[in-house]
């Protein structure tokens, strides 16, 4: 099964933008996304252990909710670069159905072409994807987003 193109518009936008940039500018681009993400609110009370993603050097929190049958995510981190990376992840892959989300491949993450960002592996965008896929299967996390919206 493949994911309808229109659902990956945000992902494609990132890929295109990053493709045009050299390594140094990519680094600044991610910092910019991180800084912008810092301005969109993330519920304070979700920055707790229950929403913490383990295995990262900086703290990463991801919340999840089911809206009209699609999975919505929001992410937060205490480090700006990681905030940028997690924003790209939740921005790219929110709005998918369960099947579609399960279909997101590691190749697609590689397609973001952040290989040059040497921290990538440590930050673990792959791990973020796995974490989002795991969250989507949990029923008890589904209320987070709507609660956050209030």
């Amino acid at each position: 099964m493949s994911i309808p193109a229109e659902k990956l518009a945000q992902y494609d936008e990132y890929v295109e933008a990053l493709d045009l940039l050299d390594e140094e500018s990519r680094f600044e681009y991610i910092i910019d996304i991180g800084k912008r993400a810092a301005k969109t609110p993330f519920p304070e009370d979700c920055m707790d252990d229950a929403h913490l993603m383990h295995g990262c050097m900086s703290k990463v929190w991801i919340i999840h909710g089911l809206v009209d049958g699609t999975h919505q995510f929001r992410g937060q981190s205490d480090a700006i670069i990681v905030k940028g990376l997690v924003s790209m992840m939740v921005g790219s892959f929110s709005g998918l159905s369960s099947d579609e989300l399960a279909d997101v491949t590691l190749d697609q993450i590689r397609g973001l072409n952040l290989g040059a960002l040497t921290m990538q592996r440590q930050v673990g965008m792959m791990a973020m994807l796995k974490h989002m896929q795991k969250l989507s299967k949990r029923t008890d996390s589904a209320a987070d987003i709507s609660a956050a919206a209030e």
Binding site: E23, E24, I31, D78, A79, I80, I81, V82, M119
Partner: protein, 420 residues
């Protein structure tokens, strides 16, 4: 960066030591990272290797390789001699009384586990105290905790002050009747603090308590004399001493090693084996089961010869100058908070940049070609004591220069604008 007023300082610092010539010996230092010359400030995690180490290891594999201690043939005898020669080299390097007091291990971690498992299980029992410090690497915490869980020893932690200086009075107070062993770092991998090892040993010995010193960091920054320190055990790891990975050493006083049972069973560690009964070899072989890290040992031998030729005192003088310069430059930056300001310390800078996550700082340094470490540095309890989640650590070595410190300062200034 090319501030004229600083130029003479560079000159003075490096005159006589010829750091540029030393740098030529390390092939990797010629490479670039992200299009910038590599600034390697992560030697505390693992140091780079000089050409002589690389060559020695290649030469063994190309021309001399076989197993040691076993073969009745020319290659085996010559390589066994060379391998055993490394034991002598290590013994001389730390001034051990005899090469039979040197046990070859894979690293510091294995050496401490060996002592905890053999000395610990034999001589310690329920209720006995083992004293460590508040700035231990996990390698000197977890083996003792495992022993605690197994036989019920008690772990006691000697505190440090806010500069990272060990509180000697509090340490002495911990040496009560129950305390039966001290296992302490000689130099903190996070703060750089060099502890007063002789006093630590002396105070313990006054009460008949043996002491293990973790020399992983200390041994690279200055001369170590285990007899002068009177340490009962001294452990270190080869890869931080410009040698290869998977090779380290445990020094143990002969009379202690003689009383300790084997660590692992297998070949090389036995005197005689029948199905009914096996008798064990004498130390150090008793503790070296199986084929040893032969190639790595040759590499470590070459590394020790290399630093010895330069001179540990000369290395220490150079690194002290780097420490002083780096401390001054970082001190000029109002947003840098430095952890570890003990008067006696190695060239290790642990810091955070106020308002910026250490991970972001380290990423900005990486973009400038500067390799540092970020996080908890295998010392979580110490991080809790310092009240931080993590720090950036720049750990310098003999091949670093003041000009590289300037590169780091410039990159930190850039980070401030990037992340604010």
């Amino acid at each position: 960066m090319n501030d004229i007023s600083r130029t003479p300082k560079h000159h003075n610092l490096e005159a006589g030591f010829e750091v540029e010539r030393i740098r030529q010996d390390f092939p990797i230092l010629g490479r670039e990272v992200h299009g910038k010359p590599l600034v390697y400030f992560d030697s505390g995690a693992s140091a780079q290797k000089p050409r002589v180490v690389i060559d020695a290891m290649v030469e063994v594999m190309e021309d001399q390789y076989t197993n040691v201690h076993r073969g009745a043939h020319y290659l085996s005898q010559t390589l066994t001699d060379r391998y055993e020669g490394v034991r002598e080299t290590i013994a001389k390097f730390i001034n051990a009384g005899s090469e039979s007091e040197i046990v070859i291990t894979r690293n510091t971690t294995e050496a401490i586990n060996l002592v905890a498992a053999t000395y610990g299980r034999t001589f310690l029992s329920k209720g006995d105290g083992v004293v460590i410090s508040a700035m231990e690497h996990h390698a000197n915490i977890v083996p003792w905790q495992m022993l605690r869980d197994e036989i019920g020893i008690e772990l006691k932690v000697a505190p440090i002050d806010d500069r990272g200086v060990l509180d000697l009075d509090a340490y002495a107070d911990l040496l009560d009747q129950n305390t039966k062993f001290v296992s302490m770092t000689h130099c903190s991998n996070v703060l750089g603090t060099i502890v007063p090892a002789k006093d630590i040993v002396g105070l313990a010995h006054d009460r008949g308590i043996p002491v293990l010193l973790d020399g992983s960091q200390a041994i690279v920054h200055g001369a170590v004399d285990v007899q002068d320190l009177d340490a009962d055990f001294y452990v270190f790891t080869g890869h931080k001493l410009y040698g290869p990975t998977a090779i380290g050493a445990l020094y143990g006083k002969a009379d202690l090693l003689a009383q300790m049972p084997p660590y692992q069973g297998g070949g090389d560690m036995i005197a005689k084996v029948t199905y009914e009964k096996t008798t064990y070899a004498e130390p150090p072989y008793r503790f070296e089961a199986g084929t040893p890290p032969i190639i790595e040992a040759i590499g470590l031998g070459a590394a020790i010869d290399y630093v010895s030729a330069i001179g540990m005192d000369a290395i220490q003088t150079h690194e002290s100058a780097l420490l002083a310069y780096g401390t001054e430059r970082l001190g000029e930056m109002p947003d840098i908070k430095l952890f570890g300001t003990a008067p006696h310390k190695a060239a290790i800078f642990s810091f955070i940049q106020e308002g910026i996550h250490p991970f972001d700082t380290a990423a900005a340094l990486d973009r400038a070609g500067i390799a540092t470490r970020v996080g908890q540095h295998c010392a979580e309890p110490l991080m809790a004591r310092l009240g931080v989640d993590g720090t950036v650590r720049a750990s310098l070595a003999m091949y670093n220069t003041t000009a590289e410190i300037d590169v780091m300062i410039a990159a930190l200034e850039r980070a401030r604008t990037l992340f604010r």
